[in-house]
Amino acid sequence: MRRKPSFRSDSGTLAVLLRTELRMLLRDRRTLLLAVIAPLVIFPAYILILRFVESRERKALEEAVYGYAVTGSQADWAAELVEAALARPVLSADSSFFRPRFHRLEPADPFAALGRGDLRLVVEGLSAQEWDSLRAFREEAPAPSPESAPVAPVDPRRSERGVPALRLHFRGDSDFSTEAYRQLRGALEELRLARRDSLFRAAGFPLPLQEVVPVEAVSVASRAKEAGVFLGTALTPLLVLLMLSGGSIVAVDALSGEKERGTLETLLTTGARRSEIVRAKLLAVVAVGLAVAVFNVVNLVLYLVAGLIELPASLAVELRPVDTLLLLLLFLPLALLVAAALLLVSGASKSYREFQVYWFPLFVAFLLPSLVGALPGADLRSLLALVPVAGVALAVREILVGELDLPFVALAFLSTTASALYLTRLTEASLSNEKLISGADLEASDLTGGPALFPRRVLGWFAAFWVVFFLANLWLGGPLGLRGQILLNLLGIFGVGSWFLVRRYRLDPREALGLRRPPPAAWPAVLLGAPSALLLAVSGAELVNRYVLPVPEEVLQGFQRELLSSDLPPAETLLFLVGFPALFEELAFRGVLLHGLRQRIRNPWILAATVGMIFGLFHVSLFRILPTAWLGFLLTWVVLLSGSVYPAILWHALNNALAVFPHQFGWLPSDASPSAGWAVPAAVGLALSFRLLRIGGRPSPSRVLPKASPGA
């Protein structure tokens, strides 16, 4: 009876879907208009029009004759000075000299005429006393109300020695008035320098003022490197912009458009898998996004070659073939991430209109991290390498500058790739979501709330905790000091947060926090496991550093600084660095978080890795994420095998004590670390510990009982 149809291979179905998707796109006038016609015609036309308008305006400004008036108690002196200044050529923005064109007018009320636009500038000549009064008034009463402004005292000696001054009144809202001010000010400064020079030389000064302590700036970086800084900063945001604008044309049609037309249900009732549908659409978005980016870049090059656009001197970059290859490799996950995000938003939108509402926030979310290269001091050797898009932006900049640091480039590549894959998975899941078809937007647990809802919400809550944790440490970290910071994190966020979740979702505290008596074998297992795990981590890192992937010295120093930079007395060290973290972090991560996630993630290895990674991400410094993720992974297994959080608390406390005390109290020199030779006995100790836990453990019936486990 079962009729197994002749199943086409996945790649075959994918190819059919992709081919049809692209065929439909190419027949869509909007796609062609926005992806091809716009780059070919609109952007260059825009640039040409802009250049035309700019040159015409520049010409108009340079050729204009600026009307000005002279006023004030020292008007005659001021007029003479202005005339002398305007008689000299002025240096223009393009380093050539030109003679400014000004015409003196004599209106009855110069300031009213300036307000009306009858003239561009008013030069006011002030006596020394007036000038001093004005300056003293500004210094002593910065913001008085006009009615109550006291007349500032005048220093009679300064008045006697002082000189008259000029005030240039112009209108900042008028291009012509501003240009008149700029030209006259330049001319007056030139005149001042020349007159000062004459005075000095008349008094016997041996050389022109310009020749006194001449300073010359020399950049030791090559022109190519300087160009790399500029292009490296601009390239990623430009590509992100192009891929977002190009990809969105396809993405909006791919899911929200299909929903609106009613073709999505047709597609979902075919034999194609959800994953195949999403991947085909994803590839279509990537293809069009990249095509639009390439179109624009090629177009730009063509216009440069044709001389319609001038190439800035700062773009003279030198690229080796390997660098070009790396850049292409880095842009692929970026294109994939952009496409996946667009598709996810398209899937979440019920219509074109709704997609448009979400597009701008998405645009900002991509553009901001892509601009990270412009931040002073932003470095790839930091947590930024793990931030999708930002890591790629920094890696691109460093490749273009010629500073290649492969491990961190790989980290940036992996973080963006992982995010792209995660978003793709989310989009696939969203296609299985009944909300797409049925319009019912709730699940049973949404109505009942309580424990049934908790597994669906736990990740969202921990994401919120992370944001609070990050911001609190950013803003309050300094003022609170180490003790305050630890109290805030452990008691305030993990402690109160765990309590809040237990209350809000009506969880059984004993079940949610794992507060059960552990089997007796758990204690010796912990006493053996904690030092073994720490030893294995340190000696393993040494092995990796020596034979697999050399870790830069600054990374090692950073790690040591993070771990050992505490000057707390012993009792407080025990409390703040050992006791509190072990207690509150275990209740939060191996208690509440594990309780929620174990109902969603059935595979214990993935479960332990997920809890470990989330735990690692809460130790914000890049140098601590991996070691703490490793610790979190092991501690999750301890709880899964023993069915209790207590052994994990002891393990955590022992780990912290062993990591901190020997160095802090001088039992070991600060640069001492176990040699790589310790890795094997440490691994054996850890395996024995887990064997003991597995044999003597007593997992809770509700906890995941792994088929295979460490040490099994």
Binding site: F7, E265, L447
Partner: protein, 267 residues
């Protein structure tokens, strides 16, 4: 029937959850079977659970409880195999406007796993059968409603599935197009297809279906051939039979208060 059923539905349940109404049981313990060469009609008012049942069978929705299988494949365990054995036609499913009629048929044949070597021949046969040869190279967006309907049915059977679902297929069609649709469905039954047909139009169900399931508020009130239902109720017309069961389930007051207002008697 000597052959095993092509569709088996056992105690099927499907709930939706709504902020204002709480749990809504769209399908509540439904059981029926459909055999090859049979048209099984699901008759019910709007909101009775017909479309939800058919969407569960087409794997677009997941059941809350019970089970359903198509050609031996479970809708939850093996949804892709279910869909490859199924052709789903609904008034709400649409065609890709920028594909031609021929491209549409090729696409749906291939995507549903029809052997590549036979796709061209299959499409040629469908084009001939439905009389769309003249328009085969015209984009769907430029076709008339009647022609689109033909392309739509052709794409439903493009991969020659053994089970077909027609969910309110005559909604929005004029009389002639509706009659043409019913004629095609009868022909497909003649080819041995197991057909699930849902409608709230009594006359269509009465003329077309071999067996009828009367669905109300997600529950199956009665199931049998028209003759069996007539015998069980002592009533002649399907409309009367339907009202009889609904009134029995709801009480006369409920029926009088407009519960039947959404039903059409048709012609």
């Amino acid at each position: 029937m000597g052959v095993p059923p092509a569709v088996i539905v056992r105690d099927l349940r499907k709930s939706f959850f709504d902020e204002s109404r709480g749990e809504v049981k769209a399908v509540d313990g439904l059981s029926f079977t459909c055999y090859p060469g049979e048209i099984f009609g699901l008759l019910g008012a709007n909101g009775a659970g017909k479309t939800t049942t058919l969407r569960v069978l087409s794997t677009v929705l997941k059941p809350t409880g019970g089970s359903a299988s198509v050609m031996g494949f479970d809708v939850v365990e093996d949804p892709e195999a279910v869909r490859r054995n199924l052709g789903f036609y609904s008034a709400s499913t649409a065609l890709y406007p920028r594909l031609t009629a021929r491209e549409t048929l090729e696409f749906f044949a291939r995507i549903n796993g029809y052997p590549e070597a036979g796709v061209e021949g299959r499409v040629r046969a469908l084009v001939q059968r439905f009389g769309i040869g003249e328009y085969a190279h015209v984009r769907v967006e430029k076709l008339s409603t009647g022609m689109r309907q033909k392309v739509s049915i052709a794409r439903t059977i493009a991969h020659d599935p053994p089970v077909l679902i027609f969910d309110e297929p005559t909604v929005g069609l004029d009389v002639l197009n509706a009659l043409e649709m019913l004629k095609i469905i009868r022909e497909l039954r003649g080819e041995g297809k197991a057909i699930l047909y849902s409608s709230h139009i009594m006359s269509e169900v009465e003329k077309l279906c071999d067996r009828i399931g009367i669905l109300h508020r997600g529950r199956l009130l009665a199931l049998g051939t028209l003759a069996e239902l007539q015998e069980a109720t002592g009533l002649h017309y399907l409309e009367d039979i339907f009202v009889h069961y609904v009134v029995q389930a709801e009480g006369a007051a409920g029926a009088r208060m407009g519960m039947l207002g959404e039903l059409e008697t048709g012609t």
